[in-house]
């Protein structure tokens, strides 16, 4: 695994990995070390597509120098809880996504709901997770012109990511469905349903309550 350490101001460190999976593995290791108090005090640990950003370090250079000696186990995909998100696959872009995949809309639903996703990182809005898990042949582009309003709970695709809009907002992702799951609730700890590292299954439903084919 190759890591590149980049300074971010006086107290930040950006660690760049050569793949998204490596970034997720490093993020998991950082959280383990933080939980075991084997990480210097840090204000934020922000995973992203191929990086982990640490902010508020007293001495980022020291951690940068130490990092090459770390043993970072590969990501154990079975190590985190699974969140099941019920989805009505009724999005306005489902047909277009299916066409791009070269399958019927029904098959597209089976592909999407059959995949295991993992929250790689959050961004864009509070509680908006970028979920990986679709093979590369199923990656789709964003809309050239974003919609001015995407409804809350929209399940959407862009690039290799799946995301769920935690609130209504503008957005350029391909909308394939809708969920009533509460993505963001500040009265809950954590406020986000989909936190980095969480595994996610999308369960097809015809209404809000009855999962189809969700038997264990």
């Amino acid at each position: 695994m190759t890591v590149r350490t980049l300074p971010v101001g006086e107290h930040g460190l950006l660690i760049e990995l050569d793949s998204g999976a490596a970034a997720e593995a490093l993020h998991a290791e950082l959280l383990r070390r933080a939980a075991e108090r084997r990480l210097p005090a840090v204000r934020e640990i922000v995973p992203a597509a191929r990086t982990v950003f640490l902010d508020g370090l007293a001495d980022p250079g020291r951690l940068a120098a130490e990092l090459p000696r770390w043993r970072i186990p590969p990501l154990d995909r079975g190590d985190s809880e699974i969140v099941e998100v019920p989805v009505r696959y009724d999005g306005p872009d489902l047909d277009e996504v299916a066409r791009r995949w070269g399958v019927t809309p029904e098959e597209a639903v089976r592909i999407h709901s059959g995949a295991e996703f993992r929250v790689a990182f959050c961004g864009f809005a509070p509680g908006f997770g970028y979920l990986t898990g679709l093979p590369e042949r199923f990656h789709v582009p964003r809309h050239a012109t974003p919609r001015t309003r995407v409804p809350i709970g929209s399940v959407a695709l862009a690039g290799g990511y799946t995301g769920v809009y935690p609130r209504s907002s503008p957005g350029g992702w391909q909308l394939i469905g809708t969920t009533d799951a509460v993505l963001w609730n500040t009265a809950r700890e954590p406020a986000a349903l989909l936190t980095p590292g969480t595994r996610v299954h999308f369960i097809p439903v015809s209404d809000n309550t009855a999962p189809e084919g969700a038997a264990p």
Binding site: L67, R71, P190
Partner: protein, 303 residues
């Protein structure tokens, strides 16, 4: 309606509730937020005997007017402005008594952009993730002040310190922002980096709590395309495709895909928060972090 409250009589261009912000939630997509001019916010609180983390009002250019429904001790700091109680001038930068029902007005900023109005006991709003700050990007925290809105006040915690008042720290004719280069300075040509440190930039009128936008020369890129999204620091100088740096302030997005050419340390951001549109901006290089140039290293795979 509780008596320990105030009524908004004139909200001004944008007046928000602010405190020291939310720390530790960036991985959920929640930025820091909080007062843009933190020293002014802390000072206002100290003048009225509050803890520095109590919530104040942050105004934008045109001030605001409120009517406390209980006797209050208030102080206005940050951008200097005329302050009146019941129409009569009182001191800026000083603790002043406002009788119950009297109109407190912070007028338009004489210099700078943002004034801070502290009340003894602080502004009470429901904390969200440990902070009462309004984040204009994410929508967290109380809504910006609106005509007729009623906001609660906290209980004063003790005597108001005996201070005559504080001087305004003065207005610099230009905004000088020291920059630590990186993490993505290698996305720019040597000429582009020279443009950053020698170019004549100005504060754009499109600036807000999310970022201070600049007008001026365009930084030449060494490579095209976008980065994969990565974590963004407070004070990051992000360079969008038009080449003009945007300085990320308190309500900045937590991740972004445009390269960050450098980062302005937090202690310089209060000055940025007070720079009116048109102010000349000069970026000066700070020596890169003492641990030297970025290194590519190989880590043994574990497992």
């Amino acid at each position: 309606m509780t008596d320990s409250a105030f009524v908004v009589v004139r909200p001004g261009a944008l007046t928000t509730v602010q405190d020291l912000g939310r720390v530790g939630h960036a991985h959920l997509g929640v930025g820091r937020s909080g007062a843009l001019d933190q020293p002014a916010h802390r000072l206002a609180n100290r003048l009225v005997g509050n803890a520095e983390g109590a919530a104040t009002l942050e105004t934008t250019l045109t001030g605001c007017a409120v009517r406390p429904l209980r006797p209050a001790t208030v102080a206005v700091t940050g951008a200097p402005c005329p302050v009146t109680v019941g129409g009569r001038p009182v001191a800026w930068g000083s603790a002043v008594r406002v009788p119950s029902g009297a109109l407190l007005e912070a007028g338009a900023a004489a210099h700078g952009v943002r004034s801070y109005v502290a009340f003894d006991g602080g502004v009470e709003a429901e904390p969200v993730l440990g902070s009462r700050a309004t984040d204009v990007l994410s929508g967290l925290g109380p809504a910006p002040l609106a005509d007729g809105a009623v906001l609660r006040l906290g209980r004063p915690r003790g005597p108001v310190p005996d201070v005559d008042g504080v001087p305004h720290r003065g207005v610099a004719p230009e905004l000088v922002l020291p920059v630590v280069l990186g993490p993505r300075d290698d996305w720019f040509t040597p000429a582009g980096l020279r443009t950053l440190t020698t170019g004549d930039f100005r504060v754009s009128a499109a600036s807000n709590r999310i970022g201070l936008r600049t007008e001026g020369p365009s930084l030449e890129r060494a490579r095209d395309g976008e980065l994969a999204s990565e974590g963004m620091a407070l004070g990051a100088l992000q360079v969008p495709p038009d080449g003009r740096p945007v300085l990320f302030l308190a309500d900045h997005p937590t991740t972004g895909g445009y390269p960050v050419v450098g980062v302005v340390p937090e202690r310089y951001l209060a000055a940025a928060a007070q720079a009116v549109p048109g102010t000349p901006v000069r970026f000066t290089p700070l020596v890169r972090a003492s641990w030297g140039p970025p290194a590519r290293r190989t880590v043994p795979d574990g497992g």
